[in-house]
């Protein structure tokens, strides 16, 4: 495995590229996933190892059908693990929970609820001891952050796709998860809206510094958002193929990233990987 890991803080790394355990937020060890099919078992993932540090933003790219969604839903606890294990802060996960927030590809809002009610659904659950006003304030704060201060009381079904995904982002951040999992969250949006939402996402993330794992099929998006881009090999038996460190300063602007000398080097690296 040609893993290049440059650590900015110069903490000594162990031989096989592992981080000191105190820095690790999410740890995937020898992960395996088997789907039983009528034609016999289909091994999607095998021997997949990945460590993600606290406050890190990792993007994942790989060919369609290689098992990215499978991996992410296993981290979320929504898909049972066939072998190996996943731990968050050293503790093995057992099923889903609000410590791992998810932003799905479809906004998955409850269409009969307002934007505010959708965010409150999570907030009420995670902060049961807060007063009603405090919970409202939290929900409104995040809706403001995603630019929906005028749409608190609009029904989700009356919002555009882009607006709905904004609510999805607010809902995910408002429950203050340790890890945020995103599965091609902007895949269904037009490129203009996608750019807007990337900016909003990275702006909130800069503030909250939640560990984030995001699947994308857009190479530019992967570079713009990530500290590291993780490349998955094609299935069956997919694993981590390569990892690319993105050494751009934060906060980043789209312009500064595009004008950076390393940008095309990174881009070429990723495209070369995907084309082989």
């Amino acid at each position: 495995m040609a893993t290049i890991i440059k650590d900015k803080t110069n903490v000594t790394l162990t031989e096989n590229g592992l981080f000191p355990s105190s820095e690790v937020m999410l740890d995937l060890k020898n992960l395996k996933k088997v789907y039983p099919t009528p034609k016999g078992d289909y091994v999607v993932l095998e021997d997949l190892n990945l460590q993600i540090k606290k406050e890190e933003f990792v993007t994942i790219i790989g060919h369609s059908g290689c098992g990215k969604t499978t991996m992410l839903s296993m981290i979320a606890g929504l898909n049972p693990i066939s072998g190996g294990n996943i731990s968050v802060l050293g503790k093995h996960i057992k099923g889903p929970g609000p410590d791992r927030g998810v932003i799905f590809q479809a906004p998955s809002l409850m269409p009969w609820m307002t934007a505010l009610q959708n965010v409150l659904l999570g907030v009420n659950q995670v902060f049961p001891d807060a007063t009603k006003k405090q919970r409202n304030d939290i929900a409104k704060y995040y809706l403001q952050k995603v630019g929906l201060e005028d749409s608190f009381n609009k029904r989700a079904s009356d919002l555009s796709q882009g607006m709905q995904q904004r609510v999805g982002i607010a809902r995910a951040f408002a429950i203050k998860p340790k890890v945020l999992l995103l599965d091609e969250p902007f895949g269904m949006l037009d490129s203009l809206t996608r750019g807007e939402l990337q900016d909003i996402l990275i702006e909130i993330w800069n503030k909250e510094k939640i560990t984030a794992v995001m699947i994308t099929h857009d190479v530019d998006e992967a570079i713009f958002l990530a500290d590291r881009v993780v490349m998955m090999t094609s299935g069956p038996k997919a694993k981590i193929g390569d990892v690319l460190d993105i050494d751009f300063e934060r906060p980043r602007t789209r312009k500064s990233v595009l004008e950076h000398d390393d940008y095309y080097k990174y881009r070429k690296h990723l495209i070369d990987f995907l084309e082989h």
């Binding site: 606890g77 929504l78 791992r100 927030g101 998810v102 269409p111 659904l121």
Partner: protein, 368 residues
């Protein structure tokens, strides 16, 4: 202007969109491009109504002639030419004793409709007078601890309609109270679903008559001590049991087929069972539940007539049956009046449910 927009919206919401174009006609707001629309939505339906009445008129006319010819022929064969001539004159004079008794014409039906209304007015006046007359006496009787004297006269046609509506709503409520909670439980648990499946499959197709007999057997025994009239109880329970299946099946289906994304959200947020059911599962199955309730109400109305007839419970069904037995010269026309009333009320009930359904449903695509 603003008002007309909202009116248009409301009528469209209720599935009565054609009313607004009819209104445009009278307010003279018809644009040229609306013309085709107007033609399709108002003129064509109106023409079809006229065509229907015309065909009906001709049909009843020829049935009348067939029966008249037969009567004259029979008189000729049995009693000779003089009797046949007498019969011909008798029929031409419209005398009740020899009038052919067949499908009534539209005018006869209209006349019967008016006579039923007149009858209703007479009965209401009679009832009002009775209540006024007995008011003082009843007060005294109640003070003495006796039962008040109630009006026991014949119910009018309009009274029968309200009796039927009362029965159908009682039956509908019973169906709702049984089928919705049961459907939720069945939908939530695959075990319950498979254990109830045979039950649903077997009882769903059972005919209203059999339900009536079953309910009759049970209620008769349960109310054996009471000397009150149990026909209302029996008929509304039968209506409820006949009609609840659509709601039961739809509720179970709605609950068990909630979008997987919503369930995942509930899982990630670790919502408790109560929250999951009331905040996620039920709201998302509401459209299907209402589709079920709409079918239930229309089935309830349809079987009601047959059940009232069997149960001898006052209402339109009994009205139709009594007119048929009665065989007076305008009985057939009254039955046709009842037929139209039943149809129109059924249509209005359906619209009522559609309106409620549109109102509660979150996706605003028109439900049909």
């Amino acid at each position: 202007m603003k008002q007309s927009i909202t009116l248009g919206k409301i009528t469209k919401f209720m599935g009565l969109g054609f009313l607004s174009s009819l209104k445009d006609l009278f307010t003279g707001k018809l644009e040229k491009e609306d013309y085709v629309n107007f033609l399709r939505k108002v003129v064509v339906p109106l023409a079809s109504v006229l065509l229907f009445i015309g065909l009906w008129h001709m049909g009843s006319q020829s049935l009348y002639n067939i029966e008249a010819e037969f009567k004259i022929e029979k008189a000729l064969n049995d009693q000779g030419p003089a009797a046949a001539e007498a019969m011909r004159e008798c029929i031409a004079s419209g005398d009740v004793s020899c009038k052919p008794n067949t499908l009534p014409s539209p005018t006869q039906v209209w006349d019967s409709y008016k006579s039923l209304l007149r009858d209703h007015n007479i009965i209401s006046a009679d009832k009002a007078a009775f209540i006024e007359k007995t008011a003082a006496l009843n007060e005294k009787r109640i003070a003495e601890g006796k039962d008040a004297i109630t009006y026991t006269g014949r119910p009018s046609f309009v009274d029968q309609i309200f009796r039927s509506l009362k029965t159908v709503f009682a039956g509908f409520l019973l169906a709702l109270v049984i089928a919705v909670p049961l459907g939720i439980f069945i939908g939530l648990s695959p075990t319950l679903k498979s254990s109830f499946n045979w039950f649903i499959q077997i009882f769903k197709p059972v005919s209203p008559v059999v339900w009536y007999l079953l309910v009759f057997m049970i209620v008769k025994t349960l109310l054996i001590d009471s000397n009150e009239d149990s026909s209302f109880t029996i008929s509304f329970i039968s209506v409820g049991l006949c009609s609840m299946w659509a709601t039961l099946v739809n509720t179970a289906m709605g609950v068990s087929s909630v979008d997987k994304d919503y369930i995942n959200v509930a899982k990630v947020l670790k919502l408790g069972n109560f929250q999951k059911i009331f905040k996620v599962v039920l709201p998302s199955s509401l459209p299907l539940i209402f589709t079920g309730l709409k079918i239930t109400l229309s089935v309830a109305w349809m079987v009601l007539i047959a059940i009232e007839l069997l149960a001898q419970s006052p209402g339109l069904g009994l009205f139709v049956w009594e007119e048929f037995q009665n065989g007076a010269n305008d009985s057939n026309a009254k039955i046709i009046v009842a037929m139209f009333v039943i149809g129109i009320i059924g249509f209005l009930l359906d619209r009522l449910m559609l309106t409620i359904q549109n109102w509660v449903s979150f996706d605003k695509t028109d439900a049909i």
